[in-house]
């Protein structure tokens, strides 16, 4: 097969497009894991929920509130979906996860797994598993831009740029600001931080809310690209788990970079040997486990 620069680059760019989703989701998982010590299995379901808030806000919200002409547009959805899901997450943290803090971390995984089943189950009952299209892509983002070596859809470029901004913004807040230093201290030693008068429980709640809001944000970004379906989250979360195992959850920057790289590797695999593209991330995980079991950016705890 002829591997032209164009085909490779276009697949790698499309891969980068997946990669930013991996990056946002694994970043959220890492932030939550750092402070709460749980693996948030429901992350994928909340990513799906974010996409549905955008979709339903556009198609059903108007009739529901008695104004058939009202559509929640894309830009509003980018704000509303993370807010809705973030508030939901805050509720979940306060009502459930908080009770599990003194037990084994595995219970957090099991609880969030149960929540994921509930959310996915509800949506499977009301919506088509094969997915619905989200038609509210803003006009400003229609068309393609010339990147010099290829034409790239404007919307996908927007997704890459805004996702990178959000990822690095989060990194900056956590690693370079006062607020972030509280968070990092809370990760290291919550009791000591409490003793300094910092409201650690509130910090934990808000962190969880922010982490899941990121997932919803990714969901809205994904809505115009992929079809919005009840299973989009469960497919995503397992891949993201592999990404997290490869990168290690110890480092914010590590999870961002790993997500981006793996997306591109996946895209590249599509050109070289397409059937392997759905498993390549898992195979890389196997190699990483053999060579550096702690993950690329991981530290042994």
């Amino acid at each position: 097969m002829e591997l032209s620069f164009q085909t490779v680059m276009s697949q790698v760019m499309l891969g980068l497009n997946n990669g930013v989703f991996y990056a946002i989701l694994s970043l959220g998982l890492a932030v939550i894991f750092g402070l709460l010590n749980i693996v948030n299995f429901v992350h994928g379901a909340l990513y799906m929920l974010g996409a549905y808030v955008a979709l339903l806000g556009y198609t059903m919200l108007g009739p529901l509130i008695g104004k058939p002409d009202f559509h929640l547009n894309y830009w509003a959805a980018l704000i509303v979906a993370p807010l809705v899901v973030g508030l939901l997450g805050i509720g979940v943290e306060r009502a459930m996860l908080r009770r599990l803090r003194k037990f084994d971390h595995l219970y957090g995984l099991l609880l969030t797994f149960g929540l994921a089943l509930i959310i996915q189950g509800v949506f499977t009952n009301y919506f088509n598993v094969s997915g619905d299209a989200y038609d509210a892509k803003p006009e400003a983002l229609e068309g393609a831009v010339n990147l010099g070596f290829m034409l790239f859809p404007k919307y996908r470029l927007w997704v890459i740029v805004i996702s990178l901004l959000v990822c690095f913004g989060t990194w900056f807040v956590i690693e370079r600001t006062k607020l972030g230093s509280y968070l990092r201290a809370g990760t290291e030693n919550p009791e000591l931080v409490k003793a300094f008068g910092v409201n650690v429980p509130l910090m934990i709640t808000l962190t969880y809310g922010y982490g899941v809001a990121l997932a919803a944000f990714a969901g809205v970004l994904a809505a115009p690209i992929y079809s919005v379906s009840p299973v989009m989250g469960s497919e995503m979360i397992i891949t993201v788990f592999a990404v997290v195992v490869i990168g290690g959850m110890g480092s914010i920057m590590g999870s961002i970079i790993t997500g981006l790289l793996l997306g591109m590797v996946e895209g590249f695999t599509k050109v070289v040997y397409a059937p392997a593209s759905s498993t390549v991330i898992f195979l890389i995980m196997v190699v990483v486990l053999l060579v550096k079991p702690t993950g690329l950016f991981g530290r042994e705890s």
Partner: protein
């Protein structure tokens, strides 16, 4: 546990098909064995595998293939499926035990997903359809597993039932022996305090791997038997839903109890058959049970009972 309890359970198992619908009983036995195998790992070694469907499902595919396409007798088919699951358990286990705790769960889940993709894409697994119409055949080439006896007006597939019951007892016995052997004591030691087990000179990785292989092989035995009962190996058998279900059965019955997985499997299988009319709402109900169980019922049925009676069950 009391010898009388065991004898009572065996008699109950022998008489069950005359009272309960045999297919229901056989499904129950397969999933109970699956949960028992899983509990060996979670309950007695402290390892949460989130990918046990890979062993259950791959054994089901291998057995289906051996019996249907290679024309092997059912006992050889089941043996093949079980051995394959054990082998797969060795590969997955060697990789997964390189990470601890929460990562272990994620690694097993991700590795099981590779198995799922293979089942979806490989030429011999039938893709979305799975392997259908797996023949039950003649046990040792002699006993017809399809034979139906008419007992007081009801047609009963007793040969198949007793074959499944024998497989269950074999699996249960192997798991029980493992738990109550010196090897099992070391596993419990690792569960309670891994650094201490290491400092006592145990090579914990080997123990964990061995436990993983036994657990995987027994999960495979359950899956292999299941493929003969339902004459079907499908993608559901290898999916993460099935991995989650076995976690729930064990959790609901009581992690780390001998009878817990049995009770848990009974509860979940009964729920599934009673609630078959609600269709896919069953996922929501299963998820709800998960949440309630984790929040307020972490010991499970048997665990709570054991606490009331103040003795291990």
């Amino acid at each position: 546990m009391n010898r009388l309890v065991w004898i009572a359970l065996i008699i109950l198992g022998l008489l069950a098909p005359y009272v309960v619908y045999p297919v229901f009983m056989m499904k129950l036995l397969c999933f109970a064995l699956f949960a028992l195998a899983f509990n060996l790992l979670l309950g007695y070694t402290g390892l949460l595998s989130f990918g046990h469907a890979a062993f259950f499902g791959s054994a089901s595919y291998i057995t289906g293939h051996l019996v249907r396409n290679s024309g092997l007798t059912p006992e050889l088919g089941v043996l093949g499926g079980t051995l394959f699951a054990g082998l797969l358990g060795y590969v997955v286990g060697s990789l997964a035990i390189r990470r601890q705790g929460i990562y272990f769960a994620m690694v097993t889940l991700a590795l099981a997903q590779i198995v799922y993709f293979i089942a979806l894409k490989a030429p011999f697994t039938g893709g979305e359809d799975g392997l259908q119409g797996i023949p039950r055949g003649f046990l040792f080439g002699l006993i017809d597993l399809n034979r139906v006896y008419v007992v007081s007006g009801r047609p009963l597939g007793l040969n198949l039932y007793y074959f499944v019951f024998a497989m269950f007892c074999l699996g249960f016995w192997i798991i029980h022996r493992t738990i109550h052997s010196p090897f099992g004591q070391v596993l419990k030691g690792i569960r309670e305090n891994e650094p201490r087990a290491i400092s006592l000179g145990y090579r914990v990785d080997r123990f964990k791997l061995m436990a993983f292989v036994i657990s995987a092989a027994m999960a495979g035995l359950a899956g292999a038997t299941k493929s003969l009962v339902f004459q079907l190996s499908s993608l559901t058998d290898v999916s993460w839903h099935t991995s989650g279900e076995v976690v729930l059965m064990t959790l609901l019955g009581g992690v780390g109890t001998v009878l817990g997985p049995l009770v848990g499997a009974f509860t979940v299988v009964t729920l599934q058959s009673k609630l078959s009319s609600v269709g896919s709402w069953i996922t929501v109900i299963i998820g709800g049970i998960f949440v309630v169980c984790v929040l307020v019922f972490r010991r499970g049925f048997v665990g709570e009972l054991a606490r009331l009676l103040k003795r291990p069950l």
